[in-house]
Symmetry: C2
Subunit: 460 residues, 2 copies
Amino acid sequence: MRQEGKKNLRWNTMKILAVGFLGVILIGAVLLWLPICNEKPISFLDALFTSTTSVCVTGLITIVPKYQFTIVGKVVLLLLIQIGGLGIVACVAAFFMIMRRKITLKERIVIQETYNMDSLGGLVGMVRRILLGTLVVEGAGAVLYAIQFVPDFGLLKGVWYGVFHSVSAFCNAGIDILGEDSLAKYVTNPLINITTMLLITLGGIGFTVWYDVVDNGKRIRRHEVPRKWWFTRLRLHTKIVLVTSLVLFLLGTILTFILEYNNPDTIGNLSIGQKFMASAFQSVTTRTAGFFTFPQAGMHEETGFLSTILMFIGASPGGTAGGLKTTTFAMLFLAFLTMLRGGHDIECFGRKIDENNFRVGFVAIMLALGVYIIGTTAIAVIEPDNIGFQRIMYETASAFATVGLTADLTTKLHTGSKIVLMILMYIGRVGPMTIALLFAGKVNLKEKLRTLPSERIMIG
Amino acid sequence: MRQEGKKNLRWNTMKILAVGFLGVILIGAVLLWLPICNEKPISFLDALFTSTTSVCVTGLITIVPKYQFTIVGKVVLLLLIQIGGLGIVACVAAFFMIMRRKITLKERIVIQETYNMDSLGGLVGMVRRILLGTLVVEGAGAVLYAIQFVPDFGLLKGVWYGVFHSVSAFCNAGIDILGEDSLAKYVTNPLINITTMLLITLGGIGFTVWYDVVDNGKRIRRHEVPRKWWFTRLRLHTKIVLVTSLVLFLLGTILTFILEYNNPDTIGNLSIGQKFMASAFQSVTTRTAGFFTFPQAGMHEETGFLSTILMFIGASPGGTAGGLKTTTFAMLFLAFLTMLRGGHDIECFGRKIDENNFRVGFVAIMLALGVYIIGTTAIAVIEPDNIGFQRIMYETASAFATVGLTADLTTKLHTGSKIVLMILMYIGRVGPMTIALLFAGKVNLKEKLRTLPSERIMIG
Ligand SMILES: [K+]
Ligand SMILES: [K+]
């Protein structure tokens, strides 16, 4: 009975998410379509694409925001990114809080499900902390950016640029209003590089992770927990996210550094330190941010391929990321090692990973691969052959994992391909699992309890 | 104790396979290197590559066999293909049988393990049947081919061409001695098309499958089993192989037909019936055969991509195929559907698929993807960017799944890339699982029986 209730709840949460995102995208498209938002005429398709890319915090664009939108349009863009980044649910909760309306138990459970919280207790507190944390981090980011942007663009514009790009980086949207080549102008600027990498990472690891780290830090300061337990006392989820993010960061940085070392189209002409900083930035940005400091179409094909895989893995759940997610990747990798050795339990940091976790992860990667293959094939069918298949693979992974890095392809695509990319961004943001379960919802209730006789088949 | 013995046995089987293939490849390379085998000088690398491609029944080539080898060289080639196709183990067993030496129990078990037979009983009978079956099918194929080749090339050459291509097709080697464009000359010839497709399919579904089908047919003729049970009485393995092969065949045919319909570089200039036959041939050949009737580099990028996926899936275990294998693919797909619906048991044709089957299949796909990604990246690093990434993906999948279809790339590759392809062919033929277990062998014995407390993480 309780199980049934929990299932319905999960169902409702998913419906709210899926429909909520869709609603905000459509409202955003209409707003961005209005003449007051635009410096020059815009087609509804481009307005819809821009709204989708903002709400899904992807960052692939068909127009150049700097020249296309008026200041009103840019503010609308910023709001769409912030809503997309925080997630519809947190926004609704914040709205209720501001309205001082009491949140019903059912609404609480929906919010809790979305963020995978353990207890209902501190829900209002949690939403307040999410909003407060977002405000503090984005504020700090805006100040750091402004140190560079105010001298570059003057006081008013500099502050506005600081705010816009801080929000865009923290929400991992990767949308900029600087022009056509993202942060390429600042490839050698440590302040912009480090600020952006920090904002992306804080936004990408997910709310639950930073609260766990902050809470643990508090306990250590209050001497409730010895300092040496700063890592061991974290939740398993937090540990996996931190370690996987670090490993992927190092892997991406080293591989980009080695493979692109002599490539004049990317980092070949920089000093060694700058090469390293640019490689680190490239690695961080594939964790679904989408800003770039060197042209993505300039990369060697092998680097592009590895970046495609890094993008596909994406960032962490409970944050602003799309893609397969770091935890899913880490868990599948651990499962692979365990099963290769003939072991049974998937172990990690002295804990056994729940059997059901593995099953969900397996479904997640199969779904992600399926959606990715179908999307890539569809765009390849629509576009002519000479466009370059690797660029299509790159752009499709970028859309699905809501990364937004582009190999200069999105602007050149036909209408059909743009629609495919929009669908991929939406599925990537809402989660392929959510979409699949919405369609398979009815079947879900028909639990099969029978067991058939088993028979072995030949594998591999 | 018995479990331990079985493990050691599996270990020995794998070692025999891995070392046996390697030995035959090296002997073949030395033979093909001899002046008596060659019309013109050959580098040892090319001889090694040709030996590898023959023993691993792949078919990617760096030279043109027709012009490179003398008749002696071509006979060596044929023997290498036949040994590779039948598998080292069956060859050794046949050798012992011919020598009239009694096969020891241990040797029997090794052969049984390799072919996944259920009982030890009919081992000698089984090997005899494999050899007899191979002889009969290849003989019939040679006769059918000769009907075309004798008028084309004269009696002696026509019969020899019939034998060579029948063996090459049945072993799914895809190596020809007709020239540079495989069976392209016969694209509109139904006899050559249908004979080749039948040989490929019979060779690709695996010995266990055809014996199951033949035995079942015999039981029906003897009225031991009613005719309507011709399918239900087959083993689960047989059913999965037949259905999956059929589904993949239809899928490949229809997609190739639709996507290439108007492409003048492939099937665009043929009549509707011929387009259909050429599409069917293309679909069958991706089941790891490697012959082709239209140039693979002429395909649209999307068709090439889908062919890459079809090749990666490969043919069935217990046959001559590399790749992921049809059964692994089908089982993972069923597991995906089951888990998406929240079910527990993977069901198929009224049977439950063994839990361990799923674990092995999961390891198999992760290994296959890992090997494939590393191989593709390595070749992309070695070759310049303008070579086209999709062609590298195509060639790598073709090598790993021992298919042998080429997008006109293999001959143009640098030495490093050729070595990568050889390693991929070897891993693909011996099986990535075998290789991995040989390396992880020691770990395999440390069974972990402890159970840690479990903890949930966020997925997807
Ligand atoms: K993004
Ligand atoms: K082959």
